[in-house]
Every structure is written in structure tokens, then in C-alpha cells.
């Protein structure tokens, strides 16, 4: 917006976080505060607990099975193993996720994004000036944001993020495309279950079908459907909170430039990034286009 309006000629976007300066209990308290501090965290309902309750209800309602939810982590690690900049560069099996120690049932350690240190950066400028600086630029086609109630329990349905649905709808309109036009997407898998929800809320899959596709490895970079979290996602690339949103865009740029090496999605024209705050109380969606 700043460069499109002419207010600035060039903008450097940076994101950085060093989470390992704090112990894990303190970090979790910070994360808990991104939900409703009084009526959720103040009741002992942790951030992981809220996501676990979403997962429990999804399983109950037949939207996804425990295995399908766990498979999201397997997909992230599959791609993380192909990304030299990922925090965890090792593929894992479904069994590893299912047998990992419980954080908040039904979710285990391997359903949760890790504590990470990291940084990412981008350079933005007006599209017509980009050629002056580089031959391999991409176009920002849409950036949108939507919000919802802070507390999860105040929503009509906890198995969908209304803010993702709203931000995605606007983004597709801005870019003049539909969900079917996207070849590669980075979604906010703070927990495996939010990854599954994102695939449905962004319109890539119908409700009840995202989990099946993930379990069937259809989200891999070389399957031919929309490739999901080719960077390794929050789970395997890492989740240094302040850097995550920028890192998602960096991965899309690599893919759309054709410089994603071993995890390159063929003929990627449009990439989408979805970033979430709290339990979906704020969501941004960005769409980038190859030039």
C-alpha cells in the first residue's frame, strides 16, 4: 500500500524473533495471552487446549479423523526436509505424530509448531520500478485482513475461522482469481488442526475433504494439486512468531521465481499465504503472482 500509493519509493520489510531467550512455560503464557486472557486463559484453558478442543469437535463431527489431522505435520516435515533453511530438516512418519507426548489431547508434541529463532526480509517497490532492480520479481496481487471475536467460544462454529473465509474471499476478488487458480500456499499451521481448517476455509477443499487429501499426500509439491507449506510450514520451517508472516511470503517468492530447488512446484503462477493471530481472531491473506 505504501509503495502503491507513492508515499514511499521502496520499503524493506523485516521480521525477526528470538524465542529461546525465554523458558517454555513463559513462552506458553505469552501465547495463551493471544486468546481471551480473562475468559479463556484465565480459566486455565491454554492456547494448545483451545486448538485441541477444535480438533476434538472436528473429529466428533466427522470433519477430519485424528490420523488426517496428524498427517498435516507429516506433510510439513516432508517439505522441511527439502528446505535448507528449515529448522527441522527431517521427514517423519504418521506414527511419530500419533505417539508423540500429549500437550492437550488429542494433540501431541508433533502437532504443535516449535519454539524458534529466525528472521526474514522482503523488498517492496512499485511494480513498474521492479525491473530497475532485478529480473526476478513477483507481483503482489492481493493483501487482505479480517477479524473475529477474540474468544473462540463466542463464535457460531469453532471448526471454521470466519476471518480466514472473509479475508480469502476479498483476496480472490482483489486478484481477480479463485481458489482453484492457486498452485502453492503457505498456511498458518501453529497446530496441525489449524492447517486442516485453513485448507477448507481458503476454499482449496470442501469441509470434510482436506484431511483425506493431506493423508493421501496430495499436498506435496509434486502431486499436481495446490502444494501446501513447501517451506515446511510453521511446524518444520519453524515459527519465530514475528518472522513467520514474512517467511511465508519469502517461500512464495522462491516458488514463483522458480528458485525453490528440490521442492519447486512446477508452473507456479499464483501463490497464497495465510497468517493467523490468536485462535483466528485476526487473519491476513496475501496473493502473489509470477511475472
Amino acid at each position: 500500500m505504501a509503495v502503491a500509493s507513492g508515499m514511499h519509493d521502496i520499503v524493506l520489510v523485516g521480521g525477526a524473533e528470538k524465542m529461546t531467550d525465554m523458558d517454555d512455560v513463559s513462552i506458553n503464557s505469552v501465547l495463551d495471552a493471544t486468546a481471551d486472557a480473562e475468559w479463556e486463559a484465565g480459566m486455565g484453558v491454554t492456547f494448545a487446549g483451545l486448538h485441541a478442543m477444535i480438533a476434538q469437535r472436528m473429529i466428533h463431527d466427522g470433519i477430519a479423523t485424528r490420523e488426517e489431522i496428524a498427517a498435516f505435520s507429516v506433510n510439513s516435515h516432508f517439505h522441511g526436509a527439502l528446505n535448507p533453511n528449515a529448522q527441522f530438516r527431517k521427514a517423519i512418519t504418521l506414527d511419530t505424530v500419533l505417539k508423540s507426548g500429549p500437550t492437550a489431547t488429542p494433540l501431541g508434541m508433533f502437532d504443535c509448531a516449535p519454539i524458534s529463532d529466525g528472521a526474514a526480509g522482503l523488498v517492496l517497490c512499485p511494480l513498474e520500478d521492479a525491473k530497475k532492480y532485478t529480473d526476478s520479481y513477483v507481483k503482489v496481487s492481493a493483501v487482505t485482513q479480517a477479524s473475529d471475536t477474540l474468544a473462540l467460544f463466542q463464535r457460531p462454529d469453532i471448526t471454521t475461522y470466519g476471518a480466514t473465509v472473509a479475508a480469502a474471499k476479498q483476496a480472490y476478488e482483489q486478484a481477480g482469481i479463485t481458489a482453484q487458480d492457486i498452485q502453492v500456499a503457505e498456511v498458518h499451521d501453529t497446530y496441525t488442526v489449524t492447517g486442516i481448517m485453513a485448507l477448507q476455509d481458503l476454499g482449496f477443499y470442501k469441509r470434510g475433504e482436506a484431511g483425506k487429501a493431506v493423508l493421501n499426500e496430495e499436498c506435496h509439491f509434486d502431486w499436481g494439486k495446490v502444494a501446501i507449506n513447501t517451506s515446511g510450514g510453521l511446524k518444520a520451517r519453524g515459527h519465530p512468531i514475528g518472522a513467520t508472516g514474512v517467511a511465508q511470503i519469502v517461500e512464495l517468492v522462491e516458488q514463483l521465481r522458480g528458485s525453490a530447488d528440490k521442492r519447486q512446484v512446477q508452473n507456479a503462477k499464483y501463490g497464497l499465504a495465510q497468517n493467523t493471530g490468536g485462535t483466528g481472531s485476526a487473519v491476513t491473506v496475501s496473493i502473489l503472482e509470477a511475472m
Binding site: 486455565g44 484453558v45 491454554t46 476434538q56
Partner: protein
């Protein structure tokens, strides 16, 4: 965790499940709202105090193993979202229960319990928790 003023304003809700109801459209708000976002202007002056039903059933749940400092002594413990018998959703803990017996649809009722001990002064925060209802 929150300002002193906010703490006191929210005590009636936390102790007695007091919320509000918009008499224009019938929507119940918990925690309380003094303005109905559905009715907007049409709801002004039509918001009444409302006692939320203290019984309901488990809508979803989780057994928390990785606990915050305030709950470290009681882990693992059950957290639930309860749909009260008047249709209001509330998040909280489910106590006095065998953890492997917690299930969606289970009948529960709200009771007042100690939630946490705050800060170095050790001020005890009370509020609702749920227990199994016969």
C-alpha cells in the same frame, strides 16, 4: 493479567455466571455486553441482566498435559466448552471427574472454585469451574 477495574467489572460474571440478554432479538451474551451487535441502535436500552443457566453439556474438551504456571499443580486436567441449557457457550475447567470418562455430551453444572493465586501477594482468584452433574 488485566486491569483492576476490569477485574472487578467481570467478577459477577465469573462468580455467578451473570451475563446480559438483548430483549429485542433474544441473544444472550456471556461475558456480558451492554450493546447488541446484531440489533445495534434498535437494541439500545433493551439489554437486561441475565443469569446464565448453570447446567449444560460438554460441547468439546481436551485433557491439558502441558500446563501454564497457574495450573502446574493440577496437571493433567480437563478443559471444556460447555453449551448451557439456554444455549450459551462457556469455556472452563471440568473438575472432580476421572479424566478418561470426559466425553462430548456429558452433563455438567457450574460451581465456584479457586482459579489461581495471583502474583507475589498470593491473592486468590475465584471463578466458575464445571463438575459432572447427575
Amino acid at each position: 493479567m488485566s486491569s483492576v477495574a476490569r477485574e472487578w467489572r467481570e467478577v459477577p460474571g465469573r462468580y455467578n455466571l451473570k451475563g446480559t440478554k438483548c430483549t429485542n432479538c433474544g441473544t444472550i451474551y456471556f461475558p456480558r455486553r451492554d450493546f447488541c451487535p446484531k440489533c445495534r441502535r434498535a437494541g439500545i436500552g433493551k439489554i437486561e441482566e441475565y443469569d446464565i443457566c448453570r447446567t449444560g453439556e460438554v460441547y468439546t474438551f481436551s485433557i491439558v498435559h502441558d500446563a501454564p504456571a497457574m495450573c502446574d499443580m493440577i496437571k493433567p486436567y480437563a478443559v471444556v466448552m460447555v453449551k448451557t441449557d439456554d444455549g450459551v457457550m462457556i469455556a472452563g475447567q471440568l473438575v472432580d471427574v476421572e479424566l478418561d470418562k470426559v466425553a462430548i455430551g456429558m452433563r455438567v453444572r457450574a460451581v465456584m472454585r479457586k482459579l489461581s493465586t495471583d502474583g507475589d501477594a498470593g491473592v486468590i482468584r475465584y471463578g466458575y469451574k464445571f463438575v459432572p452433574a447427575e
